[in-house]
Amino acid sequence: MRRRTFLLFTTGFAVMGPTAARDLPGVALLPDAALGIDDHHWRVIDRTMDHLFPDERNAPGAGAAHATAWLHNGLRMPEVDDAHRRFIGEGAIDLERLSREQEKKSFLELTTARREAVLRQLELRPGGKAWLQELLRYILEALLSDPVYGGNPGGTGWAWLEHRPGFPRPPKEKRYFLL
């Protein structure tokens, strides 16, 4: 993907906000089919992120940080290789399969307690811990990076943790992929 395309996408995301998404919270445009993750598994990822880092009244979570959109946009970046994209997609497939095996239901239909149980089982499986850890990394990036990148809206993550950003902060035209 060319950098300009990504720029437009993130700008659109930042301006339009989650209300313009189809039904994936935080995603401003339709998921990119080229990433190889279908809508259902995007929802599995979205639900997983919500569970790993839930929104709370006084503490922003994955939803408030637009973490699913962050992950989606991040996977579209040219520096990300296909193996990593596959890893993220296959992790969602494995989770959904595990849920259907263990709980006889889609992960999307589980209660909070059963989601926790399935995710803890996934953590013990080969590759499961690494997948969950990657999702947590994306969540924390979305929550604590400079808002110029489209996450951490209004600096909500920084405010929550009473973190003072440095200065000068990056303007749009000096984001890392434009240097």
Binding site: H51, H163, P165, G166, K174, L179
Partner: protein
Amino acid sequence: MSHSSTTDHDVCIIGSGAGGGPVAYELARAGYDVVVLEKGKWLTEKEYFKDEMACCIKESYLADKRTEPHVVETEKGDGWRVRKTSESGWNLWNGNVVGGSSNFMSGFFHRLKPVDFRLLSEFGPIDGAEMADWPITYDDLEPYYDKVERIIGVSGKVVAHKFQEPRSSKDFPYPPTREHPLAAMIDAACKKIGTTAIPLPRAILSRPDHGRRACEYSGYCGGLGCASGAKGSSRAALLDRAVASGHCTVLPQSHVKRITSDGSGRITGVEYVDRDGKARRIDARIYVVACQAIETARLLLNSTGPKYPRGLANRSGLVGKHLMFAGGGAGSGRIDYADFDERTATLLRDNGPFINRTIHDHYIIDDPDFGARAKGGVIDFVHLHPNPIGRAYGRVTKGDRLRWGSELKRDLEGYFRGGRYIKIEAFCDWLPNPDSFVRLDPAVRDRYGMPVARARFGFHVRNLQVGWYLAAKGAEVLRAMGAKNVVSFASGSPPTNLVAGTCRFGDDPEKSVLDADCRSHEVENLYITDGSFMPNAGSAPFTWTIYANAFRVADRIIAALGGRPDDTART
């Protein structure tokens, strides 16, 4: 100055960091025609922001290790585990931009001490270590340490103590940078336990000078480029002024593949790939290599010629040997805001000012509890890097399991809001040893088709002994000041941002690559001015020494080229 010559330039410098910058600065200001080849982009203060995504998550200032990897060998049982950096967490690039990694240093500046120049004579041989005295003394280098204070800009305050290095000027030219309240707390704790903390000099301007602004105390310094120009990077302090002289050309995004030589052994030119991907060639009367120790060794080894079948300047077979890092230990402790009144807690929360304290009392360890008298090192007290993504991600793992949900969120709240961590950085010699070296990888090539460097990271057990000792001394201070969760440790894992050795200097061509002037024993027109020359790297961060030595060698190159005209502009 005009020189009759058929070459493109008087001097060609490969690498623009702390080793290359002083040579460019001095030669250009003496009127010689200098070209600097730098593989990275030319970013200025206008491109450096406090952006964790750019500096640290995406590593935007480093070469892409997928197309320009290194290969590392780390200890595994009785053998060595071999991995490409692109398939591991290692990254041996430190700053591929004009000014090199000096753009991203914290600027904790220490001189080496006289004893560092004669470790073998002073302490005798150590089993398993390949020690050697330097062919120069501290007194030879002192005028250049002094020069660095003025030209790069070092701020600090001289305080008498038993290991104070001899100085030709009374105090630093710039007063200390602003101090965080933790500095006074460390002073008080040291007094309580009978040790002495002294101000830690910084390569940071505390007042504007040389067209650079003073530090603006943004709280984001080490690991990030400086937006004010206060940090004494090779670019801000030297190259900008070298270019302004009208005698220096910097060619960014110019990757040098190899250096060519003829049957007589003289270098004939440099082959490089320019920003458009075109193969280019350039020549000069004198060549200076300063790509950092690992890449410098790789370039020489890749530069075979009729007289150099084992690589340029490598008749001794020592190019790539004696790879060193800054050995040592580390630790941390936490000051809880709840233990202080509100006003003090507010001051403690301030990110901007620096701690700037160091202990030199243990530079030589003369302690029966440790063993025989031995070389020790310095203990620095510094802020934790503030980058929130990296810090938060460090909380995700707890033992073998992951933290998430409210467990992780409550932990982050306590970690970020409840207190401030003080970090101990203890430095000792990384003893040169037979299992720490660089060679060419037999199979892996970079995007330019050249073999990549393969580095083995073997460490000497003495590193761990001294590192543990020093880190524990630092931990005593933290405990005395009331810090909680105090830990200290040492590790054989190398800090790859501080790298030296691989082209040791000395008087004997059979035992060294370079002579006392850092000129190759066998290649008449080749000098090496990064940290490669060091037989040992001192017990402190050594960037100041690289700068100082490069200024010293610049004087030798000027002499070799015919001297400095009387009307040369001086600092």
